[in-house]
Amino acid sequence: MAEMAQNGKADNILLDVKGLKKYFPIQKGLLRKVVGYVKAVDDVSLYVREGETLGLVGESGCGKTTASRSIIRLYEPTAGQVLFKSRVLSPDGQPRMVNLLELDRDQMTKVRQEISMIFQDPINSLNPRMTVADIIAEPMVIHGKYEKGRSEEIIVNLLERVGLRADHLRRYPHEFSGGQRQRIGIARALALNPRLVLCDEPVSALDVSIQAQTLNLLQDLQKDFNLSYLFVAHDLSVVQHISDRVAVMYVGKVAEMASAEELYANPLHPYTEALLSAVPKPDPLYKSERIIMQGDVADPSNPPSGCYFHPRCRYAIDRCKIEAPAFRELKPDHWVACHRAEELQLKGI
């Protein structure tokens, strides 16, 4: 990990998101006049290296889902760049960076073979009227890669790999438990051999006992299939042992991004510090003061001025109310958006 931190941003980047914005218009009245915008994602920059897991953490409603969906254009982003090292789009098979937001329909469809998504809700993300076999086969069918026999074999292998049995193929989603359904969703996400998987809180709807199992499965699959993950979660404890690096989001912006060890040990952003203070500690004797943030999460349709976190930040100064802090690389591979990042001595775990 230490050497990774020194490498800086440059090498091995698979996904590089720059200044991503997604504003949802708020419409009112008969004529559906736009009276404002929900700035669900407001200037998100992050990157994922090949073979690693980037945890994306933030409170509910801070725009994690919107960000991950905007990355593969399930929502059409308002602004920004999503650079992805694509193989299918380059003529010679050599991976080449492309901006997903500039692709036309057909190209975008092609890229979707390389980026897949696991959804938060294992009940709603599987079509209740399709069998498990049809669900897992769907990505192949869509891309015209389904061949009788060969594909069926792939599907059975996938199913067994995620811990289900071949005789589950002809069943319907409602016959499975939540954990099993999520495994079906995982198998589907792997059907086309993607390189990047966007996991939108894949375990938060599951029982705590199943969560660890599913996380382990995801980690094993990452090794076997050489996957990169963007792993969304709403608290730091879930991403702690599965992420190589972690990005912390607050109201549509990334507050801090660093390698997991670095971020947990030396947080540079007051918000990260507050979140860390809420992470349960393995040592029961270890007493840490839990930082209680005052106020509520800011409203993305009417965010505060300056630094969005200033009404709740205990280190806020006057400048924070006026000027929004830039997202900058303070140390190699450690990014933060706080005016006082240099001077503050924040507590990690």
Partner: protein, 378 residues
């Protein structure tokens, strides 16, 4: 490692649930609804006898005229003049002229007896339009000039009215089915598109359905049927009529489907399909539309009677089908004169089949609704 142990951790599914699809569950629940099952059986019987094989069930051909003008329904007897019990038979009819009332009447002649037979030979026909046959379900073995059997009487041209009701049912029942099918095709397709795309497309479709709904039906229908050229063959008119009925009816269905799609569209499985690169068409018709089907089937079943009634009512008004096409509507037109009700009341025999059809459709529709609705995991 968690993965290795996972398979054994799977709960073993109960036997009955193995491979149970949504439709299996629906079937199971539908079977428990006695009225619904009865409705289904009756409907199948209706469609088979009226639409599929009326040629076989009817004793005569549709247009087979006779001299037995306005003969009353023939009584089927088991006891002869001597009080002897015997196999079913009928007596012959003799024509009498009542010079006082200046009326033609029919009198029973107990000297002529004709036993009732099953599977008698009679008029030639082609079953399903293919197989040449001359066997009829029942009848009497007699020269057609000498005697005929009219279990529901004869009309003003001496045609067997029972035969006419059977054949008329074919058109009326089929207009309901075909019309409803067209309505479904139009309503579901436009509803899905309107709900999925939203925006301007939605706006246009919705305003158009409102326009159709706001327009008074009868004047619109009169205008449309006036637009049908008189020289068109009755069969073309028949298809135009189904088209018009479908055209007037799809709006309500489209609105309901649109509403369902609006909620289904937000389901993550639609997004998931999109994330894997599915085209709009696939998302709309493979993922979203099936979710509306249970609802659509119920609505369709419950509104077929409306179609049948519309045809009947319009033909009765003289706006729909015209003779020589025979439908329940045109038969009703014949029955709807004071003279007919006074002298040939058996022409009202056309009413019970209409009522039974409507009732059975409603029974089936209610049963389906109960079977389809309570499903939560749509």
């Amino acid at each position: 490692m968690a993965v290795a142990t996972a398979p054994t951790a799977l709960p073993v599914a109960k036997k009955r649930e193995l491979g149970q699809s949504y439709w299996d569950l629906v079937k199971y629940r539908f079977k428990k609804n006695k009225l619904g099952v009865l409705g289904l059986i009756l409907l199948i019987a209706l469609y088979v006898s009226f639409a599929a094989i009326p040629e076989f069930i009817a004793p005569y051909q549709l247009e087979n005229r006779s001299n037995f003008v306005e003969a009353p329904p023939t009584a089927i007897r088991f006891v002869d003049a001597n009080g002897q019990f015997q196999a079913p038979f009928i007596y012959g009819l003799d024509r009498k002229i009542d010079t006082v009332k200046r009326l033609r009447t029919w009198e029973i002649n107990t000297d002529r007896k004709y036993p009732l037979r099953l599977f008698v030979q009679g008029d030639e026909y082609r079953l399903f339009g293919l197989i040449p046959m001359n066997i009829h379900l029942f009848g009497i073995e007699a020269d057609q000039k000498e005697q005929r059997i009219f279990i529901m009487g004869a009309d003003a041209l001496g045609r067997d009215y029972f035969t006419r009701i059977l054949y008329g049912g074919r058109l009326s029942l089929m207009i309901g089915l075909i019309g409803q099918f067209l309505t479904l095709a139009l309503g579901v397709t436009l509803g899905v598109i309107s709900g999925y795309y939203g925006g301007a497309v939605d706006m246009f479709v919705q305003r158009f359905t409102e326009f159709l709904a706001a327009f008074p039906n009868i004047p619109l229908f009169m205008a449309l049927s006036a637009a049908i050229p008189a020289f068109w063959s009755p069969i073309v008119v028949y298809f135009m009529l189904t088209l018009i009925l479908a055209f007037l009816n799809w709006g309500g269905l489209a609105r309901q489907v649109r509403g369902l799609i609006l909620s289904l569209r937000e389901r993550e499985y639609a997004l998931a399909a999109k994330s894997f690169g599915a085209k709009d068409r696939r998302i709309m018709f493979r993922h979203l539309m099936p979710g509306t089907m249970s609802h659509v089937i119920v609505i369709a079943t419950l509104s077929i009677p409306g179609m049948i009634l519309a045809e009947t009512a319009l033909s009765w008004l003289g706006l729909g089908l015209r003779p020589p096409l025979t439908s329940w509507g045109t038969l009703l037109q014949d029955a709807a004169t004071v003279r007919a009700i006074r002298f040939t009341p058996w022409l009202l025999w056309v009413v019970p089949p209409i009522l039974v059809t409507i009732l059975t459709y409603n029974m089936l529709g209610d049963g389906l609704r109960d079977a389809l609705d309570p499903y939560s995991g749509r």
